[in-house]
Symmetry: C2
Subunit: 292 residues, 2 copies
């Protein structure tokens, strides 16, 4: 059994990005810019945004953190997005979700220029992903795909079983793994809560991607020997032994499943750190493709 170390891989990617941006600076060129837009004061969202800004600063990406009151109108937010669509200093626009209930997330996402859609949530980015065109891929599925590359995991003709069908993980990773491309070209099954018996599907997986958001749901008897396990879940469970009174676990019961796995991502330190690394990578891509 081999651990897929997402923390280390993400650090490597960030270092690679930093070297590319250092080179741009040395040449006296412009550098990529990312603007984050946060509405309201959801503490989790604040943590996410500040990690993204911190990553930018480490790598050398210009960043700006817009923070707006929760009672901002939809129109004002749309105008701000439009302003950054036109600002040549910012190549990526990230609107932190969720937004307050009076604002349509769909409208805001669709307002972002597809050329600056570094989160890959715009329907046009998703459509291009499905039909196999190069596009911005949302960061968590892009991070999973990157792990397959970096660990040289064979995927061609393998049976990838995705548990969960969310718009941000399950559906895009399924559509990625279907493509006739390197580190994809897999037979893909997407299963979910409507299945009579999930284990019927999970047991077939050569590569299991658990992304349903249910703590330690995947048990040892639900997988076959040699499975590659990608655990996307991040769940808090009570643990009085921990200083904070809880610990983080994935959707996979690591103790039970890891002895049967050939490769497995831990939680934390697996897929999680890859997400921000891929956001940084998408920002550089936006700059290279559409920047000045």
């Amino acid at each position: 059994m081999k651990i897929i170390d997402g923390k280390l891989t993400a650090a490597t990617i960030r270092q690679e990005l930093k070297e590319k941006i250092d080179k741009l600076k040395l040449e006296g060129k412009n550098v990529p810019g990312l603007v984050t837009i946060l509405v309201g004061d959801n503490p989790a969202s604040e943590v996410y945004v500040s990690s993204k800004i911190k990553a930018c600063s480490e790598i050398g990406i210009r960043s700006k953190a817009e923070k707006l009151p929760s009672d901002i109108s939809e129109e004002e937010l749309l105008n701000l997005v439009q302003k950054y669509n036109e600002d040549i200093n910012y190549h990526g626009i990230l609107v932190q979700l969720p937004l307050p209930g009076h604002i349509s997330e769909d409208k805001v996402i669709e307002a972002i220029s597809p050329q600056k859609d570094v989160d890959g949530f715009h329907p046009i980015s998703i459509g291009n992903l499905v039909i196999g065109k190069d596009t911005f891929v949302s960061c968590t599925p892009a991070g999973i795909h990157e792990l397959f590359k970096r660990y040289n995991i064979e995927t061609k003709g393998k049976h990838v079983v995705v548990v969960g069908r969310s718009n941000i993980v399950g559906k895009p990773i399924a559509n990625i793994m279907l493509q006739k491309k390197d580190y994809a070209n897999s037979i893909v099954t997407v299963c979910h809560s409507a299945a009579k018996e999930l284990s019927y599907y999970t047991k077939q997986a050569d590569i299991l991607i658990a992304a349903m958001g249910s703590a330690e749901f995947i048990k040892g008897n639900m997988v076959k020997d040699g499975v590659v396990v990608i655990d996307v879940g991040i769940n808090r469970i009570e643990d009085p032994m921990k200083p904070k009174g809880y610990r983080l676990v994935g959707d996979v019961d690591f103790d039970e499943v890891s002895p049967k796995a050939s490769f497995i991502t831990p939680v934390p330190g697996g897929v999680g750190p890859m997400t921000i690394a891929m956001l940084m990578s998408n920002t550089l891509k936006a700059f290279e493709r559409y920047g000045e």
Copy 2:
């Protein structure tokens, strides 16, 4: 075993559409309009386009058939699309594919206003389909989904196995059947030529959708008893007994598979006729949603 009669179902849908449009006429209202754009003189494309125009005329949809020489420039074609984007008399724009090699199909499809994208090929339509938003769904997968509805076939929690991953059938029908919606909500497997053994997957299908374009590939021993079979293939095979020297067969060996199936679509007369019916339905939808 029950035959899913696509010809009859398509005729029913066309009759329903005709009644709605007759009602609009009686009320003195505008009616839906469809423009077809054909470039060059591919005989198959000419047949397809004329069937579409004929269907419009039977139903009462205003139609216009633009026919352009094969040496038209990409820019001229894009300008024509733009002209119809702005023409309030045409609610749907259909550019018949394939286009000559010097014209980018992607560019032309992306030039069609998403509000008039009755073929459902625009990336934004595909993206919206994937994330579960109401949109124009391309006509063949929409036709398959409609057959499930009209024949009241149970799909929730069933294992749908799609053979083939084309952008116009395999990928969209897989993404439709995944959605948490009526006549969908299925566990979906997409398999294709990279599979070591396709029958491993096809044998598991509660509902098998064969869309790989390989004559009579699916044999009796590749399916289980009671399977619902949707055969999307249309292949010519030589047959000296037929006046034309060939006959049309699907991707499924009907004689072998039909005795095991609970429902099955024939070829011809199954999925095929549904395609034009769904194009007509999409045109009425475009009119109702975005028309005057």
